[in-house]
Amino acid sequence: MERSLDIASRTMLEVAQRRGITTVWDRFQAQQPQCGFGLTGLCCRMCLQGPCRIDPFGEGPRTGTCGASADTIVARNLARMIAAGTASHSGHAKHLAYTMLKASRGEAPDYPVKDEAKLRAVATRLGIPLDGKETQTLMGDVAAAALAEFSEKETPLAWAATTVTPGRVQTFLKYGVVPTSIDGVVAEVMHRTTYGTDADPVNILLGGVKCALADYAGMHMATDLADILFGVPKPVVARANLGVLKADAVNIALHGHNPVLSDVIVQVASEMQEEARAAGAAGGLNLVGICCTGNEVLMRHGIPPATHSVSQELAILTGVLDAMVVDYQCIMPSLANVAECYHTRIVTTMPISKIPGARHVEFREGHARASAREIIRLAIDAYGRRDPAKVNIPDHTSTALAGFSSETILGALAAVNKEDPLKPLIDNIVSGNILGVCLFAGCNNVRVTQDSGFLTLAKELARENVLLLATGCGAGAYARHGLLTSDAAREYAGPGLAEVLGAVGQAVGLDSSLPLILHMGSCVDNTRAADVAVAVANKLGVDLDKLPVVASAPEATTEKAIAIGTWAVAAGLPVHVGVVPPVLGGPMVTKVLTEEVKDLFGGYFIVEPDPKAAAKKLVEAIRERRSGLGI
C-alpha cells in the first residue's frame, strides 16, 4: 500500500528512509498484526476481574466474567470513545470560555472582542438581554452562559437547543437524549459504563447519543467563542503544503487546535519580523499551520497550512522548521523523537499536554502576548542552529481558497438574492443542479493511503453534482491537493454544480467560480455546516433527516471523530466512515448503528472502506432523500 498520495509527503518519506528516521507508518507496521479483540471492540478492561474477551467465533467465552455480552461490551467501549471525544471538543470550548471570562474582567487584556456583531448574535440567540450593555459586560455574560453549560442544571444545553430545528428538539426529547450539562453527561457515560451498571446495549448507545449531542453543543460553542474573540472567517487565499516553508526565514509551525494560542502568536509575529531578520533570517518570520490550529489561522489570517495529521512529523524532516508550537489533541508524542535528529524545537504550551523531550513554555492567557513572544524567541534562537546539510524543502504547494464560515456562505448567497439568500441554494437543489450536499470531516488515518479516501470521494461526488463542504484535516487534504480552487471546480464538478459554483462566484465578485470544495474551518467547526443545513431545513419547514445532506469521514482516526459522527447521525444524516470502527464484534450494536438507528433519528452509519463504493452509497442515500421530498 502507498503511504501517501501527497507528493510533498512522499518526498519527505524518502528522506526519512534515507536517514533511517522512524515515522508513524513504520510504527504502524511494527504494530502488525493488531489485537483482534481490540479491533472488534470485544475486550473489556473496565474492572479488575478483567480483562475479559469474547470469542468472536463463538467457541470461547460468550460473556465477560460479570456476564456482560459482546454487545454490552462493544456498546460500553463505543460510549466511552464518544465521551472522550466530547471531553476534548468541549475542553477546547471551555478554554475559550475561560479566556473570554478573564478578558471580560480585564484579566486577559490581549483578548478583546474582535467581532462585536457575532457577540451580539450569539447573545441574542441565547436569550441574553443586550439592553445597551457594554461590549465587555456582554462578553462576560456570554462567557458565563458558556461556562454554565458545563455545570449541573435542569434545562437543556442552550448551545444545542437554540441551534437545531424544532423537529430535532422533539425527537431528542422523545428518546430521552437531551443533555443538560456537558461535563455532566461525560461523567454520566463513565458512570453508566462502569462495573455493574448499564448492561442494555441500546440504552448504552442512547447514552452515547446524549453525550454526542453535548459534543455538538461544545463544538458549536467553541466556534462561536473563537469567532467572537478572533473574528468570523472570510474568504482568504493561501498556498498549502510543505513547500510553504522558507529556507531564508525562521519557520514556526502552529500545531494543535485552539486559536487561544495560535491566533495570538500570529498577531505578535507581525511585530517581531525585525528580530528574526536581525538573527540572520532575511525572510523574517514565517508561520505555517499543521492540523486544525493551522485551519484556524488559515481561515482568519491566511497562514499557509504546511501539512496535516499523519504527515505532521514530515515537516521536521525539511530541516528548516525551527519550532513546532503545540497546544493539544492530535499531536504525536513521536515529534520529540524526530526532532532529536534536527535542530527543531518542539514547544508544548498547555498544562494538560506535555511531551517528554519537548520544551515546555506554559502559555498564560493573562500574559498572552508575552508568552507568544517568548515562544517565538525560542524559534529565532533555534534558527541559528540549523544544519544546512539537512535542508530539504519539497518544491510543492497548491493554491487554497478558504474562509467559508456559514456567515460567508450566506453572504455569498445574499449576493445572488438579497431578500432571500437561501432561495438560490434551495432552488438549485430542487432543480437538481445540486443533487445534494456532503460534508467531509475527520482526520487522515495511517491505515489508509493518506488522502486517497478524501480525493476519490470528492471527485466521485462532484461529478454527481453534490455540493462539497469540508472541515479539519479533510479540508487540509483538499488544500494540499489543489481542490479548494475554481480550477478544480472546472475540472471535477458535474455540469449542474459547475453552473452554481460559477454563478455564485461571479455574484460575489470573484473572477471565476467558487472552489470545488468549500473549506469551513477546523474539525471543531463542523457545526458551521450544521448551521447552514438547519437554516435550509427551517426555511423549508422540514426536519434535517429529510434533507439530501450526508457526511463522510473517509479516513477517521480520533475519538472526536466518533463523537462527531454520532451527533451527525442523531441530527438525521447518513454518515459514511471509511475506517471500520471497533464495533463489529457486537452484532446487535452493528445492526443498530447501520440500520435500526434510522427509525429513531433518520441518520445512520455507512461503513465502507472502498471510497468508490462509498460514493455510490452516499449518492443513493441522497437520491432516497430527494425522492422522499418529491424532487
Partner: protein
Amino acid sequence: MKHIFVRLDRCTGCRECELACAVEHSASKELLTAIFETPPPRKRLYVESGDGRSVPILCRHCDDAPCLAACLSGAIYRDRAREGVVVQRADKCIGCWTCIMVCPYGVIGRRLDGGRWVAAKCDRCPDRAIPACVEACPTKALVYAEPEEWARMARRTVATTLAGQEG
C-alpha cells in the same frame, strides 16, 4: 522439519494466536469479515491455563502420530511434500472422533464442513511461509524453528546464565 516451539515465559494469554488461526482457516482470511462467516471458522490451537500460567497448546505433528495411527478412514495422513506435516482430508473424515480420543495434547477439535461435522486439526498453514499463529504472537512466544535451532537457543540461554553466575 520446522516445528512451532513455545517460550512459556513469554505467553501473556492474549489469545491472538487463536484468533489468527481461525481467520487463516476462514473463507475471507480477514478478521472483520471472517467473524460474520457461517459456519464460523475454527481455530486449531488453544491457549490453556495451567498452574496459573497461560500455555499455548499446539499440534506437535508427531513423528509417531497417535491420531494418524488411529484414523481408520485414512482422513489423517502425512504430507511428504510438506516435510511430513500431519494433515487431514475433510472428505474422508467419518466423524468417529477417535483422533480426538487419542491425541495426548487434545488439540484436535471439530468443525462444520458442508453441513457435516469433521475433525479440525492444525495444517501448519499450507498457504503461508510462517504459520499464522507464530506471526500473530505479539511477544514472540511462538517460535517456528528446526528442533536443533530451538535447542541451540536454549543452550545459549543456559550458557549465558552460567557464565553470569561465574562472574
